[in-house]
Amino acid sequence: MQPATRQEQKAATRNRLVNAAMNLFARHGIAQTTTADVARSIRMSHGTVFLHFARRDDLVIAVIDEFGRRLAVEFRQALERDLGLRAVLQAHLRVLAAIEPFYARLVIEAPQLPPKVRSTLLMLHAAVSHRLFIAFERERKAGRARKIERPLLFNTWIGLVHHYLVNRDVFATGDSVIAEMGGTLVQHFMTLIKA
């Protein structure tokens, strides 16, 4: 194996920081986790964090961006193959399930996040809404869904998912409320939009 280039090493360090931050945010909360905590958890010097992220908020945004990147990959596959709205909803839940503890924290802390971070999260929601609506419109044109305005379509779905995530301690008997309830939520939503 060839030795990693400087750029590859830099990318690997950045990825380690993003992964470590995601784990600590999930465990201790976003507001409660410092950049020093993140560095310490992977035995890295505190200064290294700032070589990659000028400010703490930039690290939080990088974690949200990573989540967005995973969503984009899943959605692209579901939309390009025209697998239908149900597959798009399932793709959304699949990504959320993989980062469930972090995402639940993000939802709980969202109103208190700095505007720069919150605006990034809401832009990610906007992208989900956009893709959800593309799949929904295909259902509607095929006569399988009734007319619903785009904001309410998205807010109904995300409101449902977020309610279960925020209260995951009382809805789930195991580690993942999405693993336990995801199928029910998708089925319920598909019933709600039916023509």
């Binding site: 990318a11 961006d65 984009a72 720069k116 605006s119 809401l122 809404s129 904001p151 309410l152 998205f154």
Partner: protein
């Protein structure tokens, strides 16, 4: 986990495929939404308006809050950094 995905220097939109870039040219720093038909960056007011509208149309966020969010989103993007 993949390396950092390139994103628009104006609005931060992920640039995943050539069609996302201005004029479909992957060497350009801006997305197709932040540029005109000749690939030139739109004005700050135009980019702000596009992003504000995106927040409103996607989630029903109030116009005032959507504009605040759009301002926060653009604030430290390379194209607009240090504008204030």
């Amino acid at each position: 986990m993949a390396d950092k995905c390139p994103s628009c220097d104006s609005c931060g939109m992920p640039l995943e495929k050539p069609a996302d870039y201005a004029l479909g040219d992957v060497t350009r720093p801006y997305c197709s939404y932040c540029t005109d038909a000749r690939g030139r960056l739109l004005s700050y007011a135009q980019v702000l308006e596009t992003n504000t509208r995106y927040y409103v149309e996607s989630q029903g966020i109030s116009a005032a809050a959507a504009q605040r969010m759009a301002e926060a989103l653009l604030a430290d993007k390379p194209a607009w950094r240090g504008r204030h």
